[in-house]
Amino acid sequence: MKKIILVLVVIAVSVGAIGYYLWNKPSEFVSDGKPDFQIPLIELTNDGKNLSDSIFGTKYVGKAIQFDAEVESVVDNKGSKTFTLKTNDDDMVVNAGFHESISNKLTKIVAGDKVKLQCDCSGVTKPESEDDLLSEIEINLTRCNLIK
């Protein structure tokens, strides 16, 4: 009987510990590990422009993408940085957002630098009409990591 109670207590404690761990597990702030895609940035921007939002979402959202790019501008946003990446399309904006925990790694990056990044794709937004104030197509990348 004592053994059964002991086993039940061990199971209850284990389940509680796993639940506590899962509930409090911190978010991933930086994309690491094996990327789902290693593609030129232009392939991503072409897909952002040509695919419907839902097809683009199914293909890329939540996936890790590794690519080479040229930094067009660096925005310091309350401790964390965002790189706007150079595209060859006037109506296309690609923003690569970094968590503040890796800001130190980015201090030397300036506009014009060529970088290799790995980011998670969080989606594409498109203008709804011709008179939309936000007239660009924008691809948003988050949890970015500077590979080199």
Partner: protein, 184 residues
């Protein structure tokens, strides 16, 4: 000669028209949920925002998947269960400043504004009025607002067993600094 003058005039007019729109794609929107038992927050630093200073129209677009939480499980629940971001990936606010004449976009200062408009979220569009302020400083315009929404108004269902952890009233803060929009 006439052609050159016409061309120069067109370029000037185009430049003037563009100068009337200020925008950013790196604005910040954050929110806080607070109950007796749990408080959590998240932020989105990829908010697109624009203002037409001569018309007084404003627009915000939030990619829902760009919200960053401290806890992984909360982020997953937020995206998949509550906001259903695969189906509703973007939230949009479109409004028009009611008291536009009180805002001097050419004079540095802080101007209180009232902006009625439509907020689309989770596939539901509702008319709301947001009170905020516009800070004009040099060539930049900062849009600030602090307001609340009710999850139930937007069809966002909080399961009964999570009511103690997630508030139906969500406090939202907007902080977006815009610069003159330029054509590349």
């Amino acid at each position: 000669m006439k052609k050159n003058i016409l061309f120069s005039l067109s370029v000037m007019l185009l430049g003037f028209a563009n100068a009337q729109i200020y925008s950013t794609s790196t604005g910040t929107v954050s929110f806080v949920s607070k109950t007796k038992f749990e408080e959590f927050s998240a932020y989105n630093k990829q908010t697109q925002a624009a203002i037409s200073v001569n018309k007084g129209t404003v627009q915000f677009k939030l990619p829902i998947n760009s919200f960053q939480f401290e806890k992984d499980l909360m982020q997953t629940h937020f995206q998949e269960n509550y906001m259903e971001s695969a189906t509703f990936p973007t939230s949009i606010f479109k409004g028009k400043i009611k008291n536009l004449s009180e805002v001097k976009f050419t004079t540095d200062g802080t101007y209180e504004v009232e902006v009625p408009g439509s907020l689309e979220m989770h596939g539901v569009t509702k008319e709301i009025e947001v009170k905020g302020s516009i800070v004009v400083k040099g060539k930049s315009i900062t849009l600030l607002a602090d307001f609340s929404i009710e999850c139930a108004d937007y069809g966002i269902k909080i399961p009964k067993n999570n009511v103690s952890q997630i508030s139906n009233t969500i406090n939202i803060k907007v902080d977006c600094t815009l610069s003159p929009k330029k054509k590349k």
